[in-house]
């Protein structure tokens, strides 16, 4: 590869905000400084207690290189665990002005033992602050919370509300109940008070339910697709439970869940709300209006219609002000900011999607 040409190209690019970067632990012991002894022992002895049959690994093995970019492996530790490599290979290379950290594993969201989940979430947040944001001013953290314990989640949010390192609150859309349920409302109230959006990233760990309404898929291909359905049911729940009437300042970011399905879902919700609205009096307006006002969507993995113009149309329908670029570094289906978008966008549209929407939403 011709390094000088690539470096020159990078310099000419639009500086971007990457809304989905996955940091990884070099080893579980990276969390030790932030975990009380009691939980360090627990982690070693009992490990994570999740709702899948295999421990320490996902039940749908990923594709190439465990779901990672084959070139993203540092000399030691898994991809995403080496800040220098991340800088060199991604932040510098792709002109990332700001990058959103999205810690996935051991993040406390899937842990069944809620005391452990709380300790883990706290430790992961401390780790994000010390090992990443403090070391690299381009990075921002997300507040991981043990969402099935709303009281603790609120405590964790409030503790970090004044810390500019943390720009959003991360929940799992594969929750134990649909996220519109009232047991989660204290989290939304805290998010509103803290003026932080809720980021919902697709998850490999279940909250106790099969990944489709008709049961468990067989292949990773299906499991991956089912994440769209998970995002849809989450949107429907939040809208029809009246969450946005109760929390008008609440903002939701759907991360890695696609966006091309959004118009079709909105049409369907609106149509059936018309005839059924007596059932959900909390929903005062057509559901699509809540979606238009309260939801943002990250772009990776970008849809690739046969005719690239079709995608521009969908983006128009969703709203160019609601789409935010993401790469998913260092995962295998990484979207390269120079190559991922086949649709022609205007300069203004590009600036909005690749940078300005995220800057506005996260007050960067």
């Amino acid at each position: 590869m011709n390094v000088t040409v690539r470096q020159r190209a990078a310099a000419q690019r639009l500086a971007i905000v990457d809304c989905d970067i996955h940091p990884a632990l070099r080893a579980p012991s990276d969390l030790h400084p932030f975990l009380p002894e009691r939980w360090r022992e627990h982690m070693k002895t009992f490990g994570e207690h999740v709702r899948h049959g295999l421990t320490g690994q996902l039940p749908y093995p990923r594709m190439m290189a465990a779901g990672m970019r084959a070139d993203a492996f540092p000399e030691q530790g898994p991809p995403g665990s080496d800040l220098d490599l991340m800088r060199r290979q991604h932040l510098d290379q792709n002109g990332v002005e700001i990058g959103m950290l999205m810690p996935l594993s051991r993040a406390g969201m899937e842990e069944r033992n809620l005391d452990f989940a709380a300790a883990l979430a706290h430790a992961v947040n401390e780790w994000q602050r010390h090992a990443w944001v403090k070391q690299e001013p381009r990075l921002r953290a997300g507040i991981v919370v043990p969402q099935e314990d709303a009281a603790f989640a609120v405590q964790e949010i409030e503790e970090r509300a004044g810390d500019p390192a943390f720009v959003q609150i991360l929940l799992s859309p594969r929750s134990s109940d649909p996220l519109g349920h009232r047991r989660y409302w204290p989290i939304y109230a805290a998010a509103e008070r803290a003026r932080r959006p809720i980021g919902l990233h697709v998850q490999g760990y279940s909250g106790g339910h099969a990944s489709t309404g008709s049961g468990w898929p067989t292949y990773y291909l299906q499991e991956h697709y089912a994440m769209c359905g998970n995002m849809q049911s989450t949107v429907v729940s939040l809208v029809f439970e009246g969450v946005f009437e109760r929390f008008p300042g609440l903002k939701i970011v759907l991360i890695e869940g696609g966006f091309a399905w959004v118009p079709a879902l909105c049409w369907r919700m609106d149509k059936h709300w018309q005839h059924m609205r007596a059932e959900t009096p909390l929903v005062k307006r057509p559901p699509s209006e809540y979606v238009r006002e309260h939801f943002w969507f990250t772009t990776q993995p970008i849809e690739e219609p046969e005719n690239p113009r079709d995608l521009a149309e969908i983006m128009q329908w969703v709203g160019f002000d609601r789409l935010m670029f993401s790469t998913d570094y260092p995962h295998w289906d990484f979207d390269d900011p120079q190559r991922a978008f086949k649709a022609q966008l205007s300069e203004a549209q590009r600036a909005a999607v690749f940078r300005d929407n995220a800057k506005a939403l996260y007050a960067l």
């Binding site: 295999l54 093995p61 067989t218």
Partner: protein
């Protein structure tokens, strides 16, 4: 108490699992390529039900320094076989292959595990026998694997987990039972879950100990499933072995299903006898864990079961179910112990009676300690 004589048949023993890379030689080129490309060969395939470092997964003195819980073959020989004077022992590999959703991958990996067991355990230690690991969520693939592996007569049983996606009595599984009956293999149902469902009807407990306690309720429901669906009427030669199930819950189940059956017989007209009679004929349970303290109540509970034919000796090595050599309940007469340790296993597993060294010869080898 300790075993009073030599020659026991251990019906539940867990060898340490191989690292996945060690299974590559037993996979075809497509899967070898997939495993390498996808880094699946670096995965551990430990079941959530038995995390390696959990106290349940290995007794402190059976943890071993290499090879995971249970250690290497030398430790297994010394601690699981020699220590109890065991003549034969059935290996039940608790491998995560059965928890994969990809049925093709699960089938390939199950086959690799079975072949690895034959080469690395059965070939190297003549006292060992094994259960066949099968992808139960794909019954036809399970049948194919059973028919393939059962040609090696050191495989004496089909192994499935007590908690999977569907109740085991359902007809979708019947091809597996037909194959097992034809080949004279009991169906061994072992504790553990693929966690495709919440482990309890009230949802997901927070703690591992709660999940483990919930296993016995799962065994109860599976037993009721087998009986109610008429599996034993359809396959009169089929035997079921409940492994690591505990057994103290059994008498109340026999009583309650009997009463229920009398009330609802027209719903299940194929049941021509009371569930207790059917269960005593077709179902066996391994000894460990003994979920009661030694003493009169345990002896009374054994009596409540109403048959001395149902329990099969097991150590559950290396799982932590008892300390020292205290593997048997105290206070049982020798003839009952002999049934549990030798006769019942031989009657349950036809294939254990085969071979010159095994069978009638065995009784002569017994020596009182």
């Amino acid at each position: 108490m300790r075993v009073p004589f030599q020659g026991a048949i251990d019906c539940d023993l867990h060898p340490a699992l191989p690292p996945t890379a060690a299974l590559l030689p037993y996979l075809d080129p497509y899967w070898r390529d997939q495993f390498a490309n996808r880094h699946i060969d670096r995965m551990s395939f430990n079941l959530t039900s038995y995390p390696p470092n959990s106290p349940l997964s290995a007794r402190p003195d059976w943890r071993g320094t290499s090879g995971g819980p249970g250690g290497d073959l030398d430790l297994l020989r010394r601690e699981a076989l020699d220590r109890f004077g065991t003549r034969l022992a059935i290996c039940n590999p608790l491998h995560g292959a059965i928890a994969l959703f990809n049925e093709d991958m699960a089938a390939a990996l199950c086959a690799a595990v079975n072949d690895w067991v034959a080469r690395e355990l059965l070939d190297r230690e003549p006292r060992l026998r094994a259960s066949i690991v099968v992808p139960m969520h794909d019954p036809l693939a399970a049948v194919a694997e059973i028919e393939r592996v059962a040609q090696d007569r050191r495989f004496v049983q089909v192994l499935v987990l007590v908690m999977g996606d569907l109740m085991l009595g359902r007809r979708v599984h019947w091809p597996v039972y037909a194959a097992a009956e034809k080949l004279g293999l009991p169906i061994g149902i072992h504790a553990g879950s693929t966690y495709q469902r919440a482990p309890t009807p009230s949802g997901w407990p927070a703690h591992r100990v709660e999940d483990y306690i919930a296993q016995s309720a799962a065994f109860e429901n599976q037993l009721v499933s087998f009986v109610s669906e008429g599996v034993f009427q359809k396959f009169p030669g089929l035997k079921l072995v409940l492994i690591e199930s505990g057994f103290t819950w059994l008498p109340p189940l026999l009583w309650r299903t009997g009463k229920l059956w009398r009330g609802v017989r027209p719903e299940v007209p194929w049941l021509d006898r009371s569930p207790a009679e059917i269960i005593r004929d077709h179902v066996r349970l391994t000894l460990q864990p003994i979920d009661a303290p030694d003493g009169e109540m345990l002896l009374r509970t054994l009596d409540h079961i109403g048959s001395d034919r149902m329990l099969l000796f097991s150590t559950d090595f290396p799982h932590w179910q008892f300390d020292g050599d205290d593997v048997l309940p105290a206070g049982l007469p020798d003839e009952t112990l002999r049934r549990i340790m030798i006769d019942n296993p031989l009657e349950t597993y036809r294939r254990l009676r085969e071979g010159g060294e095994i069978g009638d010869n065995a009784h002569r080898k017994e020596t009182v300690r």
